[in-house]
């Protein structure tokens, strides 16, 4: 039948959740994944990841301090954000988030106190003046390093780390849940959304920690820890395979067996945004890094391995963008699709995301400066040699 509708009068609804929301989702994902990587050592006792365990805790915490600022920035009434604490609503995942976003970083910080306590104690012994006071205070007033104190620290790290695992999963799982419950948005409204968000968070987090290890972690002879990074690489490869498998279920059911509003999603993703979704996000962002990470011959081409880790991080950022912004580009009532181009300056702009990265970088430099994250290395008090250039590289890798 020849049937055609032309929309003559309607209003175009603005993209209300701007690009700072993908940035928020991206950062909480990095935090959850970094925390789980630290738990490999502190909870599961996997010694091969110990060189990066403390840095993972630092990343998990600093990223999670920076992430909620995006949410506040995106509020139309940012001054009222605190009212979320006393105006609660059990059916709103955003309301749960407030408690997760405050309790989870406290839990990381508390675990960090015990994980770092021996290091604090050592620094308290080595320093004088205000630094000594600070480190003694951080070491909970106890500057002894004995097998007993180490056992106690280890036990508390284990307990807090074990509590942190569900918290980390919840803090990122709930972000996927926020989108998943919105039945008005067919791209978001699937029970797979929290799961895909968690798995892609692991993908971005592992790649991110490979980059951090490449920049900062050295063995006793000052060499890169390729043994550990290779293990992370294999982990990255299999996590990407998991991600792709879930995508396969999601897209194939949507493509071949769906009806109604989900057909719009298929058209949107695979016709109008074929290049962004299929070529860049799935092909370059996932298939390519998985290939590099899982084939030893390719992984040993070290620049390629590191480059593919950067690409993975950027690819997950793009997935967050495609999901949050893409979901809103499919109109709820209007015909066709909307288009969103973020502003460069001002509120809800590209610079706001860049500033958020800069703020995280600032936190990361401060934290790595005063926390004894590399006290297992031969020169424990040596300041971090290349954080600034290193973080710039991370920055550009993530925003692209």
């Amino acid at each position: 039948m020849n049937f055609h509708i032309i929309e003559i009068i309607n209003i175009v609804h603005e993209i209300d959740w701007s690009l700072v929301i993908p940035q928020y989702f991206f950062f909480t994902g990095i935090s959850a994944a970094a925390f789980l990587i630290s738990a490999l050592t502190y909870v599961f006792g996997m010694e091969e990841y110990r060189p990066i365990a403390k840095l993972s805790l630092i990343v998990a915490l600093t990223v999670l301090i920076a992430a909620p600022l995006n949410l506040i920035a995106d509020l139309a009434q940012p001054g009222r954000f605190y009212s979320l604490f006393y105006h609660r609503h059990i059916t709103s995942p955003m309301s749960w988030g407030v408690y997760l976003l405050t309790s989870y970083p406290l839990l990381i910080a508390l675990e960090g106190i015990f994980a770092f306590r021996a290091g604090f104690a050592k620094r308290a012994q080595q320093t004088t003046g205000w630094q000594q006071k600070l480190y003694r205070w951080l070491a909970l007033g106890n500057t002894d390093i004995t097998p007993q104190t180490n056992a106690r620290d280890h036990r508390w790290s284990l307990i807090l780390g074990s509590l942190g695992i569900p918290a980390a999963i919840a803090v990122h799982g709930y972000t996927g849940y926020i989108l998943g419950v919105v039945r008005a948005r067919p791209l978001w409204h699937t029970p797979l959304t929290p799961i895909i968000f968690l798995v892609s968070a692991m993908v971005s987090g592992i790649a991110f920690m490979i980059i951090i290890a490449w920049l900062l972690v050295r063995d006793k002879n000052g060499n890169l820890r390729w043994d550990m990074m290779d293990k992370l690489g294999v982990m990255l490869g299999w996590t990407i395979i998991t991600d792709l498998t879930i995508r396969l279920f999601w897209y194939s059911i949507g493509f071949f067996y769906s009806y109604g509003s989900y057909r719009d999603v298929v058209t949107f993703l695979f016709r109008d945004h074929f290049v962004e979704t299929v070529i860049i996000e799935l092909g370059v962002g996932l298939v390519l890094p998985a290939t590099v990470a899982l084939i030893p011959a390719l992984r040993r081409i070290r620049p390629l391995f590191i480059l593919s880790s950067f690409i993975t991080v950027a690819g997950v950022w793009l997935f967050r963008w495609n999901t949050v912004i893409g979901g809103q580009e499919i109109p709820k009532t209007g015909a066709g699709f909307y288009h969103y181009t973020p502003q460069f300056w001002g509120g809800k702009s590209i610079m706001e995301v860049v500033s958020n990265w800069a703020f995280w970088l600032f936190l990361f430099i401060i934290f790595t400066w005063f926390l004894p994250w590399n006290d297992d290395a031969p020169v424990p008090d040596e300041p971090v040699s290349e954080p600034e250039s290193a973080q710039k590289a991370v920055l550009s890798g993530g925003v692209q």
């Binding site: 049937f3 509708i5 009434q77 709103s92 419950v181 008005a184």
Partner: protein
């Protein structure tokens, strides 16, 4: 309380008029009393699409009544040209908040700033709203927006300030063709209830399970969900720019 002589005279006059008109206003007052005490109204609307001429008088009346900022609408009448086998016809579809029985906007609001009143009207408390936009995402009907002046969520509230005073919503009062009919769905004698009883009515996106309280007469199935067709060929930004240029 000090009462001046002039006020006293005025008061006496008002009482006299009230006494004189008591017989006339009594039935109305009694109805109002019954309504508030025993009978709980559930406000709803019937939009008779056979009578809508797409004049946008409702959109204008609403924006004027509620001081809706330029570029945003609490209600609007999207218009469509529908071509079947080369025969074109126009369709109009007044859209507004559906004041759903099961409102998705209310369930996602993190601060309970938006809620459903006992009379069925879904309102936003703009002193509690933090402007997170979750309700804007959650509404399947595009009925909500973030008001750029109040910086909070905004939407149709059936002109609650008017309905509480016994008046009709602005859009209903102004509707030229009488296409918008407002009333109490709990009262079987109300016009809306009778229209729903006598006519086949439709709601928008019934598959969402929202149970809207805005009913349509003569709504085609291809306009019930998201309209799949050619989008409106102009953008809001361009139109606003044209308006600014035209008025400057």
């Amino acid at each position: 309380m000090k009462v001046s002589r002039r006020e006293l005279v005025t008061l006496a006059g008002v009482s006299a008029i009230a006494a004189a008109t008591k017989a006339v206003i009594a039935p109305t007052a009694a109805t109002a009393q019954t309504t508030s005490a025993a009978h709980q109204p559930r406000w709803g609307m019937v939009v008779d699409l056979r009578k809508c001429i797409g004049c946008q008088a409702c959109s204008v009346a609403c924006s004027t009544e509620n001081a809706v900022p330029m570029g945003n609408f609490r209600t609007i009448v999207p218009s469509y040209e529908i071509d079947v086998h080369g025969t074109a016809r126009r369709a109009t579809l007044p859209r507004l908040c559906n004041h759903c029985e099961n409102p998705p906007c209310v369930e996602v609001c993190p601060t309970q700033a938006t809620y459903k009143r006992e009379d069925g009207i879904v309102v936003v408390d703009n002193e509690v709203c933090i402007g997170c936009g979750y309700c804007v995402q959650g509404c399947p009907y595009d009925a909500r927006f973030i008001n750029p002046e109040t910086h909070t969520a905004d939407k149709c509230n059936f002109c609650v300030h008017r309905t509480e005073a016994g008046l009709l919503p602005a859009c209903v009062e102004t509707c030229v063709g009488g296409a918008r009919i407002f009333g109490d769905l709990n009262d079987p004698q109300s016009t809306v209830s009778q229209l729903i009883a006598e006519h086949a009515t439709q709601v928008l996106k019934p598959e969402m399970g929202t149970e809207p309280n805005v009913f349509y007469i003569g709504l085609s199935d291809y306009l019930q969900a998201r309209v799949r067709g050619e989008p409106t060929p102009w953008s809001k930004e361009e139109l606003l720019q044209d308006m600014v240029e035209a008025t400057s």
